[in-house]
């Protein structure tokens, strides 16, 4: 039989899915053991037990000086920036995407501009943003917005243009104005796409956030990672990395669930 026709059974599929994770943990544990055996003071690959202890300390014990649990402060600060940036981008791209997709004048005026804008490497603009908006929250949120809005706008505009012409004409024969067509015909049909766009953009959004926090900040997940790097505190860094991954995964799962709940008409077609 051809390879493409071999299909794993249910238990097989679960085991296969778990396999890479198990392999990664085993490989790390072995490597860590080897290094610690040679030098018990080694800081590069702390033992899994050490990481767990550190994680427990980071999540529960307050900082001695500020009496606050830094990890939660970092998480709140980073999530506020991330969600702020992504939220603004989603709104902007929705409005621009609808305008470009529906109105020929807006398309002529904006579509090539946004195509060019999406080619600018956002991180190269970071110094400019720090100069313009200072080192506070604004520059970090703006970096995320600049980083992901052009891509989302282009995709949404494309989706609006893919709505069958028949539907737009039909809406006109029912007496719908341009704004009614935008709000009642186009908008509901691209909302599922907006959510999947947000899911796709979250990866880049995290990247821009951590980059901005690493360069200039005094609180935040990225800031903390780059701060403790100076002390080679791998246990802290790894805890933060796993925590960020978990956060990203939860946000993605929430968006996926939201999409499935909110748009039953999409499912009906499947």
């Amino acid at each position: 039989m051809r390879l493409i026709n071999h299909i794993p059974g249910r238990p097989g599929a679960v085991i296969l899915a778990a396999l890479p994770f198990v392999a990664l943990v085993v490989a790390y544990t072995v490597a860590s053991d080897l290094r610690l055996e040679a030098n018990p003071q080694d800081k590069l690959l702390p033992a899994p037990g050490t990481i767990l202890e550190t994680a427990q300390r980071l999540f529960t014990e307050p900082d001695k000086r500020s009496k606050e649990i830094l990890l939660w402060n970092d998480t709140l600060a980073s999530l506020a920036r991330l969600l702020g940036g992504v939220g603004i981008s989603a709104l902007l791209s929705l409005v621009l995407g609808l305008a470009i997709g529906l109105m020929p004048y807006a398309r002529s005026a904006l579509s090539s501009f946004i195509a060019v804008l999406s080619m600018v490497p956002p991180l190269a603009l970071l110094p400019i943003l720090f100069i313009m908006f200072g080192l506070g929250e604004v520059s970090k949120v703006v970096l995320i917005v600049i980083g992901i809005t052009p891509f989302m706008t282009r995709d949404l505009a494309q989706r609006v243009m893919e709505i069958p012409k028949e539907q737009i004409v039909k809406a006109q024969t029912l007496g719908a104005s341009s704004s009614v067509i935008a709000l009642r015909v186009a908008l509901p049909q691209i909302l599922p796409r907006l959510i999947s766009n947000v899911r796709l953009s979250l990866g880049s959004a995290w990247l821009f956030l951590i980059a901005a926090e690493a360069v200039a900040s005094n609180v935040g997940l990225g800031y903390r990672i780059f701060l403790v790097r100076r002390y080679l505190a791998m246990d802290v860094i790894l805890t933060y990395v796993i925590w960020i991954t978990l956060l990203a995964f939860i946000i993605d799962w929430l968006l996926k669930t939201l999409s499935r709940r909110s748009f039953p008409w999409m499912e009906a077609g499947l």
């Binding site: 004409v169 039909k170 007496g175 719908a176 049909q189 008409w265 009906a268």
Partner: protein, 255 residues
């Protein structure tokens, strides 16, 4: 004065002529079938009636009005596909026929309640009341087209335009849809234009059958001349004309 009048209409895309010298007048309540080979401009003609396209020259008026520049509530339309809104339930698709004309596209309070009642009556009429809360994707092709026709009628258009409405349906469903359309027509006395590939369907449903073809043909430049109406058949009385001529002109019987 005829209800729909098309006077000396031409259409061309760039150098390519599509239609030329199209003249036709239609009385209120007539059912016009439009047939012709592929690419003969019959769909273009329908799009101009719909005002999705403006004629290159000439006039198209409904009840003595001006040539329209964009689709409006005077014209209802059903396409072969994509005529209903996939994100609205069946009932809301019908309510949209009334609510989309509002500034925000929504109805509130009593108005919405009344529109929902009218929608439910229409659902009963088109035989879709059992799927009122489902989405169009869950309906069969014939049900979707019935919904599309019901939705177009809800907006109370002056003329109804059908662009190969039954082209994607299987033969059995198509016959059912014919009966459905005939009943609806008897009830509403709507003026209907229907483009079809199926001659039999055209003669069965139509009072008149318009045939589009190119009267002139340049072998060196096929795009030089456009098509026009080459035949205008009387298809009333099941396609056998003059069956009731004695009722119309009793004096003929005397001879």
């Amino acid at each position: 004065m005829s209800f729909v009048s098309v006077r000396n209409v031409w259409q061309r895309y760039g150098d390519r002529s599509i239609l030329e010298r199209v003249n036709v007048s239609v009385d209120e309540g007539e059912f016009i079938s439009i047939v012709g080979a592929s690419g003969c401009g019959k769909s273009t003609f329908l799009r101009m009636l719909l005002a999705e396209e403006r004629p290159f020259k000439g006039e198209i008026s409904i009840d003595g009005g001006e040539t329209a520049v964009e689709p409006n509530r005077e014209r209802g339309v059903v396409f072969q596909r994509y005529s209903v809104f996939p994100h609205l339930t069946v009932r809301n698709n019908l309510i949209a026929g009334e609510s989309f004309a509002n500034p925000l596209g929504r109805l509130r309070g009593v108005a919405r309640k009344e529109a929902a009642d009218r929608a439910d009556r229409m659902l009963e009429r088109i035989g879709l009341n059992h799927v009122a809360d489902q989405y169009p994707a869950a309906l069969s092709g014939g049900m979707q087209q019935r919904l599309a026709i019901g939705q177009a009628m809800t907006a109370k258009p002056r003329i109804l335009l059908l662009d190969e409405p039954f082209g994607a349906l299987d033969p059995g469903t198509r016959v059912q849809m014919h009966d459905f359309l005939m009943e609806l027509r008897v009830e509403t006395n709507m003026t209907v234009f229907m483009v079809t590939h199926d001659l039999q369907e055209g003669f069965k449903l139509g009072d008149r059958v318009l045939v589009f073809d190119k009267p002139r043909w340049d072998p060196q430049d096929p795009g030089l001349f456009g098509a026009t109406i080459t035949y205008d058949f009387d298809a009333s009385n099941d396609g056998v004309p003059f069956q009731d001529i004695l009722d119309q002109y009793p004096s003929l019987a005397a001879g």
